[in-house]
Symmetry: C2
Subunit: 210 residues, 2 copies
């Protein structure tokens, strides 16, 4: 029953990943699938709707994945690490979906039609933030703004799509491991001398003439 509908959505995802939303058009899609333009319209109505289903499917998958991970982990450290692993694996093993979503992420901010996807996204970040907050509360993590921390370290995974090459020399597992190490332990070796932030800020302001 899935039949053509899913086939169309998959082709759409592939095309958005490669060419972007604006450059993706019904005619190409149809000819690639050996069907008529009308068929696509029949199943989805508008291009917006296709994008909407793309985004919702993506967020649903990522959310479900996160919940499964939380179900099999306990400590905050394990959870953060496992969430990063999952993020990296998703980029590696569902490359088209990851690229398509992240490329067109702006729509998620602007379009009113994407409220559902936006809600799932909020739920996702609250979930990650909660893990970080728990870790800070029980002393595993340094204190700080949990929501900001979550956004920041998760950002580096989200940004991966711009530089990651599936057939590169680094295996996803190794990549994820380095990513986890960076987020957990940072760059510094051993006991870090605390940084003098006011000095740094002033220095950079000066250098840039701000």
């Amino acid at each position: 029953m899935a039949g053509r509908r899913d086939e169309i959505l998959d082709a759409f995802v592939r095309s958005v990943a490669r060419r972007g939303y604006e450059r993706t058009n019904f005619a190409d899609l149809a000819s690639e699938l050996g069907m008529s333009k009308g068929t696509i319209v029949h199943h989805f109505g508008t291009k917006d709707q296709l994008l909407r289903e793309l985004q919702e499917r993506y967020m649903r998958q990522r959310l479900e994945e996160a919940k499964r991970i939380l179900a099999v982990t306990q400590s905050a450290a394990d959870r953060v690490a496992a969430l990063i692993y999952a993020g990296v694996f998703y980029q590696a093993y569902h490359r088209d979906e990851a690229v398509a979503f992240q490329r067109e992420i702006v729509h998620l901010r602007d379009s009113p039609a994407l409220e559902d996807a936006r809600k799932m996204r909020r739920e996702y970040s609250e979930l990650v933030t909660a893990v970080v907050r728990d870790g800070m509360a029980d002393g595993t993590f340094r204190p700080g703004d949990a929501a900001l921390m979550a956004l920041m370290f998760y950002g580096s995974v989200q940004w991966m799509w711009t530089w990651y090459e599936p057939d590169g020399r680094v295996a996803p597992e190794a990549l994820a491991a380095q990513q986890v190490d960076l987020v957990m332990g940072g760059l510094m070796a051993g006991s870090a001398a605390p940084l003098d932030h006011p000095r740094l800020a002033k220095l950079v302001h000066g250098a840039l003439g701000l």
Copy 2:
């Protein structure tokens, strides 16, 4: 003599930041600037050329900024920290340019016309990578793949544009400080128990049915 040229490019940047490249059109641009569509064509020829100048100007600025920063810092730790500060400040104080560039970053990967911008980008990442490598060599940083580390922590700054709100409650300085602390010291408090990566990888694989 520069005349309207710069004015046009600025308006283009603003429009790309808000609406994206595809949705930016000459007619809107022209009417916003109170000039004719033909004038834009006269100065730039094609839309591609406008994008090209946008990307090149951005990369030139960032590269110059990085060089200025390296000129006033010595230690690897200071350098990494200052580069992050600069990145965050750029997002905050040159918001339109940052958003416009990052939104349309795909073109940098695909378009042959953007070779110059691509070259500058490569130069930029080699520069950051070199700083990380130096820090690893002199024992300031933990050992690891310097290029990968550079990509990862820089990614979290690049991703900022998707969530940063200029009029939010967090000042750019505070934001940069947290970002630096995360990159330098990681999430973990005190002496981190080393993570069991094979166990984590297996666990995540299992949970996701990969």
